[in-house]
Amino acid sequence: MELAIRRQLVPRLIGATPRAGWVALAAFGLVAFVILPALHLLAPAGSRLHVSGYVITVGGKIMCYAIVAVALDLIWGYGGILSLGHGLFFALGGYAFGMYLMRSIGREGVYQADLPDFMVFLDWKSLPWYWRGTDHAPWAFLLVVAVPALLALVFGLFAFRSRIRGVYFSIITQALTFAAMLFFFRNETGFGGNNGFTDFKRIMGFSVTAPATRVVLFVLTAAMLAATLVATRYLVRSKFGRILTAIRDSESRVMFLGYDPLPYKLFAWTVSAVLCAVAGALYVPQVGIINPSEMSPGNSIEIAIWVAVGGRGTLVGAVIGAALVNLAKSWFTAAFPEYWLFFLGLLFILVTRFMPEGVVGLGRRLLGGRPA
């Protein structure tokens, strides 16, 4: 029986994403796996076809953000749980993998010591216990998933069991990420204080700045984004997804039908946190730095804006929202750096007032389709 269910799972995973979705994913795969890498690596730097390293890095970064947006959409759009602390899980994943990257520097740091530079600077003589084993990539991968998952599980268990909902839940998640930021700012915590981790040299033995390494990370990120979309689409199309939306719309009805909402919320919440963490781990080697500002409350609020702009409860909208807002941000922060936050606030007000279903909802209305 167990095996039969497993065997059915692959066709059902495939079946959950509609045909149009697969066409879009195939087009995305062609661009991300073939065209962009080829144009970056093979086209000579002077040629008009050449894609610069900057494009690859920004693209990879935005895809990491898109994964985070999809993760938030899963619990906010479908579960009705608005987290304003998802930046924390993203940062934890980044820090967990950053530990490995720091250890990979070896003796090539400024102080040419076995310990990471910031520890030498603090005059520490040995690694703290929680750094043990972080020079092994598999252990780092495990930490990337396990630490945020555990935190999400424990936090979610207490919050959902106490039936904390709505704006109260959002505020507590803000407080959580803010508290974590202050904790990581401290030098004594052992994560490099306000400088965080940077100056990475190698990843799995390869130079982090080499074009080929960048392309591999870019392709991995694209694959992770595609996998995230397919998996979350399966989740929301399954009976689990229908129960999750039922909890969002009428939790007491769900309870009186004999379902305990707690494990449903907890599962969606933890999956969402782990997706963020994986995105964070992919982000750090591409951007080359992780510091506590990733946990600032503003960052987490921005994630919610991406989802609102793209369209809640649509998954693909989260990707579109993350891309649009971040492209706008790149341009804005270069052209009018001091006005970005005002623009972001204005955008949020306009979207919630005039486009409650975001870009995707607007698109559907223009195409005359029925609202989601």
Partner: protein, 277 residues
Amino acid sequence: MSAARLSPGGGGSVLESAGMVHVAERGVLDASHGVILYLEGITVSFDGFRALNQLTLYVDKGELRCVIGPNGAGKTTMMDVITGKTRPESGTAFFGQTMDLTRMSEAEIAHAGIGRKFQKPTVFERHTVFENLELALKADRRVRASLFARLGDDARDRIAEMLRFIRLAEEADRPAGLLSHGQKQWLEIGMLLVQEPQLLLLDEPVAGMSDDETERTAELIASLAGKHSVVVVEHDMEFIARLGGKVTVLDEGAVLAEGTLQAVQGDPRVVEVYLGR
């Protein structure tokens, strides 16, 4: 409905085909003494106001019971106690002889076999009518099962049958939010029935219904008695007369009178409560 369940184990096929797996897992309903619900000396206060005052009430297996009483008599609070929404300060509430309702969560109580229809119809408005019934259908309620669940033919048949029974077959694929008020009430009753509860609690099932809808609902509820135990809270005397069955009159959180509708209506204390105000 064993086919609706997708628990992988596959063992205990005898129990499964008898549809008894959940009951066996969560403690068997023991109503061997002929009584399904025991409420004894239940007291609930809100800020000093006694919503229920030493309420004692028994419901027999298969019985159709109507509960009436003026506003504030404690009818809805009684429902809340039975379904675990409100915990009594004192008194005992048992489902069958063995299940202590005051120690169970809302979900556990629902799972054990008590279904509740709210005063205001509550269905999942954005889900289709079919999906509403699918979620209510008796099946494994755990996350793991929901992740891999697939509707079997038996389950589809059961839903189709219920759609006909509540006269919503034409509306199966429409969002439940688009139904009329009366249709929502029926859908909610249908959602209760596919859970296959032992005890149904119906809070004002015909509120806001037209005469025609009221009549059809009365037929529907009367047809449930015998198979299920049903407790109906209602104001509409005509409707109660149509249902038949024993009537309990609540006043100020306690039972004022109990008996047939005629006997209760002839009781001078009841007349005073209803007309004296």
